[in-house]
Symmetry: C2
Subunit: 289 residues, 2 copies
């Protein structure tokens, strides 16, 4: 395994005719990242992992400075997962001078995390496009835990004819249901316990939808909010019922039965526990799929 | 020579290990485009020409509908110039559904044509990036007549790590000095005669700068405006004295002598004759270069 900290880095020239699988991350790797790396390893000749905590996608009051980092552990895990190259640039490598170019995906970014974190998805789209241009992978692997990110990257790739296949991969969870996230390390023991309310709500919501086709979008949201509120420390950022990958606003009186006939429904949550913001979601397949 | 009207078009897969030179145009080819094609032909194994009148870079009151087109003549000229592939998509190929993704280069686009044509350079940057992703060239050739476009594309490529070398090429002129442009065909005989005032002003301005290092930016602009006004049909859009490639606003009392010591100066003009808007510019090398 080779660790690359500077440009130029041109894996495609080093391996002509080989397929390249790419997993872009912010490091502090967990089992979710490893599932992406394993899939990339199985499907490609060469596997590239990038680790870069991208300042461009953090707001001024967000956790850029305290975002967890553990390079040594990350490199050991990457080696274990059979990674060929770890691209580990610092900010001066990625942004040698102030970046004037912004990549913006409108529509899809207006709601959910896009509304709570202004500028976040411009930062994501811009850095992902930069990394794609550097690594030039055949396939790139993204976890569906960051569902809006997957939708944004997929749409950017289609709109700009970027020659990369985006492979969305299922969310990996702890045994008790908590979605894995590098930010889980911020949680106190009590917050960690109460954070289960996210995955519980999603499970309950799927049950309610199966039972009752006439349930409306607004009723479903209210029930989820009610369940989230059973955790005293939970501060709801958003509860969204929408369709994937458009993520558009739905009429509150639309019924889940009608929606599920034509679209892939999504329930997406963002909830704060103290200073930690957690997200989770469930993708509901179209009826008959 | 092959004419490609649909996607996928993957010249890189068709010619592994070969270099690809790319000339993106809006068609209605003239000697300026041919100079780009000849240079691309000389420097690469494979030459790709694209012809696409990009609706995204025209404002609502601009000349998209009447922009001159002559496919048959363009194809004959391309064949003559030794082009291997002409990529000739229509709007449904380039924009199969509404595009949500925009590429914006700030700073450089605020003045000159960016100020006169809001949204123009977002349209240019977005379509150029799409074309780069489709063609995946090693080198792309752009005429310096569209100097701000060259600066925008160059900056986008650097900011986003796009693996393409941008090759700026000198403006080609008629024998009497008029810069070649597909839009020259709009000019009446009298407008064509008076349009010479652009290249004349640039020649005169270079003389004034050589003679007098203490000439200020504002004096130089005034003298140019005065000369442009000797053409009764000329309506000045802008007269800009700035530095390349930053294209930033200069203090009006800076002297050309001081500026030329450290920077490449640019004089850039946009002038309307009736409903036709012409641009031209002169790049002044740094002192001692």
């Amino acid at each position: 395994m080779e660790v690359i900290r500077a440009l130029p880095f041109r894996p495609r020239s080093l391996h002509p005719g080989k397929t390249i699988g790419f997993v872009p991350t912010m490091g502090y790797l967990h089992e979710g990242h490893l599932s992406l790396l394993r899939r990339a390893r199985a499907e490609n000749d060469v596997v590239v992992l990038s680790i870069f905590v991208n300042p461009l996608q953090f707001g001024p009051n967000e956790d850029f400075d305290k975002y967890p980092r553990d390079e040594e552990r990350d490199l050991a895990m990457a080696r274990e997962a059979g990674v060929d190259y770890v691209f580990l640039p610092d900010a001066r490598v990625m942004y040698p001078r102030p970046i004037l170019t912004t990549v913006k995906v409108s529509g899809i970014t207006e709601r959910m995390c896009g509304a709570s974190r202004p500028g976040h998805f411009e930062g994501v789209a811009t850095v992902v496009l930069k990394l794609f241009n550097i690594v030039q992978p055949d396939r790139a692997y993204f976890g569906l835990k960051d569902l809006q990110q997957v939708a944004v990257v997929q749409r950017m790739v289609e709109d700009l004819n970027v020659p990369v296949d985006i492979v969305p991969c299922p969310t990996v969870r702890e045994a008790d249901g908590l979605a894995l996230s590098s930010r889980n390390v911020y949680l106190s023991a009590e917050e960690r316990r109460q954070a289960l309310v996210l995955s519980e709500s999603l499970r309950l919501a799927q049950g309610w939808m199966m039972e009752d086709d006439s349930l409306t979008v607004s009723e479903l949201r209210e029930r989820i909010e009610r369940h989230l509120s059973t955790a005293p420390m939970a501060q709801i950022d958003y509860v969204e019922v929408t369709v994937f990958p458009e993520l558009r606003q739905l009429a509150p009186d639309e019924t889940v039965g009608r929606l599920r006939a034509g679209s892939q429904l999504v329930i997406a949550l963002a909830v704060r526990f103290g200073r930690t913001r957690l997200i989770d979601n469930a993708l509901i397949p179209k009826k008959g799929e």
